[in-house]
Amino acid sequence: MKRIISILIENKPGALARVVGLFHQRGYNIETLNVGPVFDGSYSRMTVTTRGSENDVEQITKQINKIIDVIKVSDLTEGEHHEYEFILVKFIHNEKIQKILKKLNGKIHEKDKNAIVMSAWGTSSNIEIAIKAIGKANLLEIVRSGSIGLHEGEKVLKI
C-alpha cells in the first residue's frame, strides 16, 4: 500500500542523506521525495512516498524518528489528508497532451513554433493517470515534484 510520510528535519548538512540512506539500509524503496526549508528556514519539511504494509511503515517511521536530526515524523496515510503533486512538461505541439494537462490545472508557460512548456498539478494518482495517457510520442521532458501533503482538519505537523 502507498504511504505518505511527512518529516520535519533540522536544516543541517547531511541530514537529508541520513533519511534517504535509512530507507536503503532498512530495505525500503523511496517512490517520490520532496524537501524544502519551511518557517524560519532552520528546519525542512520532507515528504516521502513509499510502499509497505502497516508493520513496515510503523517500523520505518520509528527508525526515522531515531535519526537525531529528525524533529517529527507523521504518516499522513494513517488518516484523512490532502496530497498533491506538481509536474512540468515540455512537448512538441500536440492537442491531446494539452488537453490532458488542461484538465489537471494545466498552464502554458512557454510556447514557440516547436515546443510547449506546461505545468499541471493534482493528486498523484491523477498525475500518474495523466502521465500514462500522455505516452511517449511528442513528449520531450517531464519532471515531477513528488507528492506533498498535509493532514486534513485540525491535525497539524509543526514544532
Binding site: 528535519i9 548538512p13 517500523q59 520509528k62 537525531i68
Partner: protein
C-alpha cells in the same frame, strides 16, 4: 585565554571526564596531537592499528559505562576505524571517534588521504558531526557525549578538517550550560497504563520467564531486575549481551538462551505463557524462526528504543521507557496489586525447568572428570579459568566456539564483567577490548579468552600492552582451526572443511608473545592445565599468553536447529536432537 581548535577539543574532552584517548596519528590529526602533547589533559594510548583503538575505547566503555574515545587521522585512519564503529553500533556502546579530515578547501577534490568519513560511517553511527566552525568544537563535543550516552546509547563520529585545528587561529572557549536539542529528547518514562497491564499479566501468569538483555546493563538496572525477581521468583535467562545482569549463581538463573543457549532456557522460552523481555531485542540468534517463536506466550517488552519493539516479534504489551524506571514502576505496581502470584503454579514451573536442566543441562563439572586421554576439552579450559580467577575476572573474548564456551561455562555474577562483540561478531575484538578494560580497572584481573584465529586479527596490540604495561592474561583456546566455521561445515556441508584449517602454518605463540616482550606458555596435556593457569595468574605484573591446545573435534551444543526450527528444536550433542 584564547585557544586553538586542538586545545578547545582537549579541554572539552577533559570536561567530559575523559581519561584516555586511544589513537594513532597522521597528517590531518597532527595539530590535535600537538595539543595532546602540550596540554596533558588526557593520557594518550598509542595503539598499533586504528581498529585496536576503537575496540580498546569500546572495551573501556563497556566496562565503565563511560564513553571511550578514539582518535584517528583521515583516509586510511578513518576507514580502519569502521569495524570498531560497527561493532559498537550493533551493541549500543557509547563510543566517540574523532577523525581528522583534510583541510576544508580540499574536501571533495580527492586530495591526499581524503575519504568521506561522515558518508562511510553514516549507517553505523548513532550520529555524526563535521566541524565547520572551530568555535563550535566545545559545543559539538558536549552534544556528542550527550547523544552517545543517553537513550539507546551508540557511537558518535566527529570529523574535524585540519584547518579547524590550526594552532595559529585562536578562539574563546564557550559552550552552553547544558545540551538542548529540539530534535532529540531521549528521556522517556513508561506509560502507567502499560505498567498496569503488564503487572496484571505477570501476576496471573503460570509459566513466566524473564528474558533480559544488554539493555539492562546499558541502563544500569541490574539491581532493579534482581529486585523484580525477588517478588516473582520466575526463571530468568540472559542474552549473550546480558550475561551478568542476573547473577549466574542464583537458583532462578537458567543460563543464556538462543542459538547456543541452555536447553532449559530455550525450552522455558518456548513453553512460557508470559515472557518479560527487558532490554533485549529478539535477535535472530535468539528467536530461531520468528513465526514459531513461543507460541503460547504473551510478550511484555520493555525497551528504551521504540524501534526495537515489535520489530521481529509482536509485543502484546509494549513498554517504551528507560529500563530502570520501567522496572521500578513495575515493582511498585506489583507490590500494590491485589492479585497475588500463583505460587503453586510458579513452583511447578520452576520444577519443570529443573527437570529440563537435569535432562540436558550443561555439565559444569567436566573438569573433574577422569579420562584416559590427555586431550583438553575447550569447555574445561573455561571451567578451570573460572576457578583460577575465583569467578572474579573481567573476561573479554573474540568470536567463535571459544566465545560460546565462555558464555556457557564462566558464571558471570556481575554486570559488565563479560565483554564481547555479540551483535557484529567481530573477530579481533578481544585483545584491544581487554586493554581498555585493564586501563579502567588496573588492579583487577582481566582475561581475554580467544581463539588462534581471532587473536591474529589484532595481535599487533601485544606491542601496545608492553608500552603501557598492561598485564592482561590471554587464554588462547587453540583448536588449530576456525572452529565455529568448521562446526557449521561438519553439520551442514558434509564435513568439507573449506578454508577453515591451517594447522601447518600457525605461529609459535609462545615465541610470538616473547618477541613482544611478554611471557608465553603452552599447554597440551590435561594434567598441566590447572598448574599452568595458576602460574600464569600468579604473575601479576606480566602479560601472559597461555596457548592451550584443545580437542579440535569439539562442537558447541546445544544448538538451535535451523532453518525452520523453533526454540525447542535443539541439537543436544553430535547428531542427536533433543
Amino acid at each position: 585565554m584564547k585557544l586553538s581548535g586542538g586545545d578547545l577539543l582537549l579541554r572539552a574532552l577533559r570536561e567530559e571526564g575523559v581519561k584516555f584517548i586511544f589513537g594513532y596519528p597522521g597528517g590531518a590529526a597532527l595539530h590535535i596531537y600537538d595539543s595532546i602533547f602540550k596540554q596533558k589533559a588526557c593520557d594518550h594510548i598509542l595503539v598499533r592499528h586504528e581498529q585496536g583503538a576503537t575496540h580498546a575505547a569500546d572495551g573501556y566503555s563497556r566496562a565503565t559505562g563511560k564513553p571511550g574515545v578514539a582518535l584517528v587521522t583521515s583516509g586510511p585512519g578513518a576507514t580502519n576505524a569502521i569495524t570498531g564503529l560497527a561493532t559498537a553500533y550493533m551493541d549500543s556502546v557509547p563510543l566517540i571517534v574523532i577523525s581528522g579530515q583534510v583541510q576544508s578547501h580540499l574536501i571533495g577534490t580527492d586530495s591526499f588521504q581524503e575519504t568521506d568519513m561522515i558518508g562511510i560511517s553514516r549507517p553505523i553511527v548513532k550520529h555524526s558531526f563535521i566541524v565547520q566552525d572551530t568555535k563550535d568544537i566545545p559545543k559539538i563535543i558536549q552534544e556528542a557525549f550527550h547523544i552517545a550516552t543517553t537513550g539507546r546509547p551508540g557511537p558518535v563520529v566527529i570529523d574535524i578538517p585540519k584547518d579547524k585545528t590550526d594552532p595559529t587561529k585562536l578562539y574563546e572557549y564557550k559552550k552552553p550550560k547544558e545540551v538542548s536539542l529540539r530534535s532529540y529528547q531521549p528521556r522517556v518514562l513508561p506509560h502507567p497504563g502499560q505498567i498496569k497491564k503488564a503487572c496484571k499479566n505477570i501476576l496471573s501468569a503460570e509459566r513466566p520467564v524473564i528474558y533480559a538483555g544488554g539493555g539492562v546493563i546499558l541502563g544500569n538496572a541490574h539491581k532493579e531486575l534482581i529486585a523484580l525477581n525477588k517478588l516473582l521468583k520466575a526463571p530468568v535467562t540472559n542474552t549473550l549481551m546480558g550475561l551478568g545482569v542476573y547473577p549466574a549463581k542464583d537458583k532462578y538463573f537458567m543460563g543464556m538462551l538462543g542459538m547456543h543457549g541452555t536447553y532449559q532456557a530455550n525450552m522455558a522460552m518456548h513453553n512460557a505463557d508470559v515472557i518479560i523481555a527487558v532490554g533485549a531485542r529478539f535477535d535472530d540468534r535468539i528467536t530461531n524462526t520468528p513465526s514459531l517463536f513461543a507460541p503460547n506466550a504473551r510478550i511484555i517488552h520493555i525497551d528504551v528504543d521504540p524501534a526495537s519493539i515489535s520489530k521481529i516479534i509482536n509485543a502484546d504489551i509494549p513498554i517504551v521507557g528507560q529500563v530502570k524506571e520501567s522496572l521500578n514502576a513495575l515493582i511498585n505496581e506489583i507490590k500494590r496489586s491485589k492479585i497475588k502470584i500463583d505460587t503453586e503454579a510458579l513452583e511447578s514451573w520452576n520444577q519443570q525447568v529443573a527437570q529440563w536442566r537435569q535432562k540436558h543441562g550443561l555439565d559444569h563439572e567436566l573438569y573433574l572428570q577422569k579420562t584416559k586421554s590427555q586431550m583438553i576439552l575447550p569447555q574445561v579450559v573455561v571451567q578451570e579459568l573460572y576457578h583460577a580467577t575465583n569467578g572474579n575476572a573481567w573476561v573479554t573474548s573474540d568470536v567463535g566456539q571459544h566465545q560460546m564456551f565462555v558464555a556457557q561455562y564462566y558464571h558471570f555474577n556481575k554486570p559488565r564483567r563479560w565483554v564481547n562483540s555479540g551483535g557484529l561478531g567481530t573477530m579481533g575484538f578481544g585483545l584491544p577490548a581487554a586493554m581498555g578494560v585493564k586501563l579502567a580497572f588496573p588492579k583487577d584481573e582481566v582475561v581475554c579468552v580467544t581463539g588462534e584465529g581471532s587473536i591474529q586479527m589484532c595481535i599487533q596490540e601485544l606491542s601496545t600492552c608492553l608500552q603501557y604495561n598492561l598485564p592482561i592474561k590471554i587464554i588462547n583456546i587453540n583448536n588449530e582451526a576456525l572452529g565455529m566455521v568448521r562446526q557449521w561445515q561438519d553439520m551442514n556441508y558434509g564435513g568439507r572443511h573449506s578454508a577453515s584449517t591451517y594447522s601447518d602454518s600457525l605461529p609459535n605463540f609462545v615465541k610470538l608473545a616473547e618477541s613482544y616482550g611478554h611471557i608465553g606458555m603452552k599447554v597440551t596435556k590435561k594434567a598441566e592445565l590447572k598448574k599452568t593457569l595458576e602460574k600464569a595468574f600468579s604473575m601479576k605484573d606480566r602479560l601472559v599468553f597461555v596457548d592451550v591446545y584443545v580437542d579440535p573435534n569439539e562442537h558447541v551444543y546445544p544448538m538451535l536447529v535451523a532453518p525452520n526450527g523453533s526454540m525447542k528444536d535443539m541439537w543436544i550433542k553430535k547428531n542427536v536432537k533433543a
